[in-house]
Symmetry: C2
Subunit: 186 residues, 2 copies
């Protein structure tokens, strides 16, 4: 399985790094996680730079695609040249978004007539795509899921792992980051 | 206020990035967060490289110091040359650790006769310092706190913000990453 996290300049740190860390806890052969973007490095909203492994044209070959979030989405979801570079196929790929990453799904036409969630500050912009926006941590519509509020990355990644692999792996991954004495035992 | 996150090679991604993201949500003048280490860049256990802002000798000037976690701690807590470079003063600085970062606090003699928590796999090594290790998400002993289980970074960072600033800022920061509909509202 090939899982993609889509980053960009001005990403919200935790919306890339929490999915990245969780997805990398899947300890299986033929399970790969890569960061996709448009440059060799992208810079977070706090100024951290991270390496980009693959360009967004290659998203078409991934089994699952997770769009991160952050102020950077506000320009990208209106950027026709950026959107044209992304070819996704929701009948075969799992597609998900964190927070304002839903705006890119909306702009790609992937949420037409669907229900979705997003970060509070992106709600109105998402509604303009005719999306019914609901106040839920995660909304799953067939093979497309939107999640909102950084810690809901657990729900989104959990859904991807459960769908691509199984419940047992999902549970082990999510348990491994819980606080000691609250899910994680000595 | 000058807050330090101590990173190293083979750090656990989320144990640097969750504190980093949370601490950077404090929107106050004269509040700075930097990553400290021994090289210009450090590499996470999953292979991400991040820039290091300051060297560990400068930890002595920070108001609060948070040691991250990861397999990299296992060599460092036995590395006398590394430990000698770190000068901390628990009577004036706040000092905290995530997970196995407690081993470095132990090796620095900061947990002598104290109670602490750590990641399950580091429990025995921490006990060898004469520390009473308990299965709690966070243990606060005066100006030293140990937290364990990645998501307990919320408790550790919350304690730092509350102690250095106030409850109101702490609550706003922690609320901003909760899942939508579960702490974060439209």
């Amino acid at each position: 399985m090939d899982v993609a996290i889509v980053a960009f300049d001005d990403f919200t740190d935790i919306d890339v790094f929490l999915p990245w860390d969780l997805l990398n806890r899947v300890n299986q052969s033929e399970w790969e996680v890569h960061i996709y973007g448009t440059k060799d490095f992208h810079r977070s909203v706090t100024g951290l730079t991270i390496p980009v492994h693959r360009k967004i044209e290659q998203l078409t070959y991934a089994d699952a695609v997770l769009f991160a979030s952050g102020p950077g989405t506000r320009a990208l979801y209106k950027d026709e040249a950026y959107l044209r570079r992304i070819k996704l196929e929701p009948s075969t790929q799992l597609i998900g978004s964190m927070c304002s990453g839903a705006l890119i799904l909306g702009a790609l036409g992937l949420l037409d007539g669907k229900t979705a969630t997003t970060y509070p500050s992106a709600k109105k912009a998402l509604q303009k795509f005719g999306v019914q926006v609901v106040e839920h941590p995660i909304v799953v519509e067939d093979r497309i899921a939107t999640a909102a509020g950084c810690l809901a990355a657990q729900d989104l990644v959990g859904w991807m792992i459960q769908t691509l692999l199984n419940d047992k792996v999902k549970d082990a991954v999510l348990r491994s980051i819980q606080p000691v004495g609250q899910g994680l035992k000595f």
